[in-house]
């Protein structure tokens, strides 16, 4: 594909989570690329591994989770294998992140100014005064009124939408080449959602930032993304340009997802033949399609073929035996 233009390349990423109940593979064979000025959308239901994927890009996985295979390359840097100090320098300044819940992302006992200024001064050689001026300038750019007051305010005094905009302002001020936005609008109401999306769009256009946009809201993805990957059970099951994916979805899961969005879930669904219980025991977890238990098109071939993400047509990848 368009390898040379990509800034961040994720290749064959596999993440396992160890809990007291055992070890589970939460991200499987995930590969994608982020390009400057492009938005890459990642959709999928809750628990499909979206956040895990995001966190690994900054090498910030929780203690229980571990990357067991694959690589993450940022320009020429191997994120997973360079020193702690090297990754730290990349965080915020080169690859920035916007958190899902703005209300909990800030330290409740420190004010906005503290958060903003410390971030600037960590990455830039400027004094407190310069950092303050800079912070105010960027807050103003985000259409946040009275930036001087805002810096003195504490997170609990601001609304979720305002905090989200503060996060974007912090991001902008360091002009990173990649922004990871993990469900940036989920915690917000409709008006605020629109505002945030507008600002993200600006970030992409004015600063040429490459954005990884995670959402389970297909509307948001359709509006923003250039390319989309659909995740299910830790796998990317379909990946294509936004037009192709929405107009001609191929994978049964993507189709179900789009149908349910349009309210077209047909009654027929009830009669969908599921893999019968007796068959279920025969399913080889190692090789079976992750969607097999909910798929209407499933049959024995789905249970015993190790699935790969293959080209259905140019730049349209699907992980399904029936479509290859």
């Amino acid at each position: 594909m368009m390898g040379q233009h990509s800034i961040l390349t994720v290749n064959n990423l596999n993440i396992v989570v160890s809990t007291p109940h055992g070890v589970t593979q939460t991200v499987n064979d995930v590969s994608f690329e982020l390009e400057a000025g492009k938005v890459f959308g990642l959709v999928g239901e809750s628990g499909s591994g979206k956040t895990m994927t995001c966190m690994s890009l900054l090498n910030l996985l929780p203690d229980e989770a571990k990357v067991v295979e694959g690589s993450i390359k940022f320009r020429n840097k191997d994120i997973l294998n360079c020193s702690t100090e090297d990754v730290r320098k990349v965080r915020g300044s080169e690859i920035a992140m916007i958190m899902q819940n703005p209300m909990t992302a800030f330290n409740p006992v420190r004010n906005i100014g503290c958060h903003f200024i410390e971030t600037l001064r960590t990455h830039l050689h400027i004094n407190k005064h310069q950092a303050r001026e800079m912070a105010m300038a960027y807050l103003e750019k985000m259409d946040l009124p009275y930036p001087e007051n805002l810096l003195k305010q504490y997170p609990f005094q601001l609304s979720g939408g305002m905090l989200q905009r503060v996060m974007i302002a912090i991001t902008m001020s360091l002009n990173p080449s990649i922004l990871i936005a993990d469900e940036p609008t989920t915690a917000l109401d409709a008006t605020n959602q629109l505002q945030i999306l507008k600002q993200l769009d600006r970030l992409r256009n004015e600063y040429n930032t490459g954005i990884l946009l995670v959402s389970h809201d297909l509307g948001v993805i359709a509006q923003m993304a250039d390319e989309v990957a659909v995740m299910y059970g830790g796998y990317i099951v379909e990946k294509a340009s936004v037009l192709k994916l929405f107009n001609r979805p191929k994978h049964p899961y993507t189709r179900a997802l789009l149908q349910s969005r349009l309210g077209l879930t047909r009654r027929k669904e009830k009669s969908v033949k599921r893999v019968s219980v007796s068959h279920r025991n025969l399913i080889n977890r190692e090789t079976a399609c992750p969607f097999i238990e909910r798929c209407g098109d499933a049959d024995h071939t789905c249970a015993n073929n190790r699935l790969e993400l293959k080209e259905y047509e140019k730049d349209h990848l699907v992980r399904c035996v029936k479509l290859q």
Binding site: M55, L58, L60, P62, R88, K89, V90, R91, G92, S93, A96, M97, M99, N101, T104, A105, F106, N107, P108, V109, R110, N111, C114, H115, E118, T119, T122, H123, Y154, F156, Q157, M167, I170
Partner: protein
């Protein structure tokens, strides 16, 4: 902030009133006649006649509420009466014993803070490592070891054997070390573990993840973000403990012959020295209330959420 202080201070008045009422009633409900106790303390045989005269003299024959009002009026003027035993002013006796207690309590607080906070913090950051195991052991020992035993051990090894510190009494700075360490020891384990727990909780908070995602150095995240927030629950406890220590540490004071509030209180109980008991109870109650106020104010100072809530109303 100033609004918050005013609000908190005024809310103390009813509490103090309640304490005075309870102190007064409690003592008059307990069996035993104060007049008889007075006579016994003065080595006068408590004949019926002598008791009756004294009751009239002390105002004990009046109805309870009048006694209370009279007592309260005096209390407000810091006149807590005269000790039956020493015949000195109760207030002066308390002041005399309070200063050594304050000394002991603050020295203990310094021990608690200096020892438990760093270890608690570090054992959270290096969870499961040797320092964490070590702190677990200290915590276990510290909460299960009786104070008198620890006191005697310290005296035996550090004073008698090694001759590092004076054995008993009060005077130089060196006299302060062993008793305050003994007093601090049980708290050290508690606060070490408390800080460890709250630090661990905070280390998993999204704001720490976001701080890391912004590229902050780990050192700064811990010192500027995690520490301050983790200290809040410790602070509440510490204020209560300070109140506890300021109202006297009976066992430690006895072991080290420390002339503090604890020994004053126990002696007055043994002597049935009613005005003294009343004075001590009231004084300790007031100390607790003031410590609570200090905790609240510090809390508000550290946690803006409380400060604002207080200011709005």
């Amino acid at each position: 902030m100033s609004w918050f202080i005013v609000k908190r201070v005024t809310s103390l008045l009813p509490i103090l009133f309640g304490i005075s009422l309870i102190t007064f009633i409690l003592l008059h409900l307990t069996p035993g006649d104060p007049a008889a106790a007075y006579l016994r303390a003065s080595h006068i045989p408590p004949t019926d006649e002598a008791v009756a005269t004294l009751r009239a003299e002390l105002g004990l024959d009046k109805p309870l509420y009048i006694q209370y009002v009279n007592w309260l009026i005096k209390v407000v003027q810091l006149d807590l009466g005269i000790s039956y035993v020493s015949k000195n002013s109760v207030w002066e006796e308390i002041m005399l014993h309070f200063f050594p207690t304050v000394q002991l309590a603050f020295a203990s607080c310094i021990f608690i803070i200096v020892i438990s906070l760093p270890i608690g913090m570090i054992s959270a950051i290096y969870r499961g490592k040797w320092i964490d195991q070590f702190s677990r052991i200290i915590a276990f020992v510290s909460v299960s070891m009786p104070a008198f035993w620890l006191g005697f051990l310290l005296i035996y090894f550090l004073s008698v054997k090694l001759d590092l510190f004076p054995v008993l009494g009060r005077g130089t700075f060196a006299h302060l070390v062993l008793p305050s360490l003994t007093l601090a020891f049980p708290y050290i384990g508690t606060y070490m573990r408390l800080l460890r727990t709250s630090t661990l909780e905070n280390l998993n908070e999204p704001f720490v993840v976001y701080a890391r995602a912004r590229g902050l150095r780990e050192r700064r995240i811990v010192s500027r973000h995690v520490l301050k927030k983790s200290l809040l629950p410790v602070l509440t406890g510490l204020g209560m403990s300070l109140g506890n220590m300021l109202s006297g540490a009976v066992i430690v004071e006895t072991v080290f012959a420390w002339p503090g509030m604890g020994s004053l209180f126990i002696t007055s109980i043994l002597n049935r020295d009613y005005p003294m008991i009343q004075g001590c109870l009231l004084f300790m109650g007031a100390i607790f209330v003031v410590c609570n106020l200090l905790v609240d104010l510090t809390y508000a100072f550290l946690d803006p959420r409380i400060r604002w809530e207080g200011g709005k109303k």
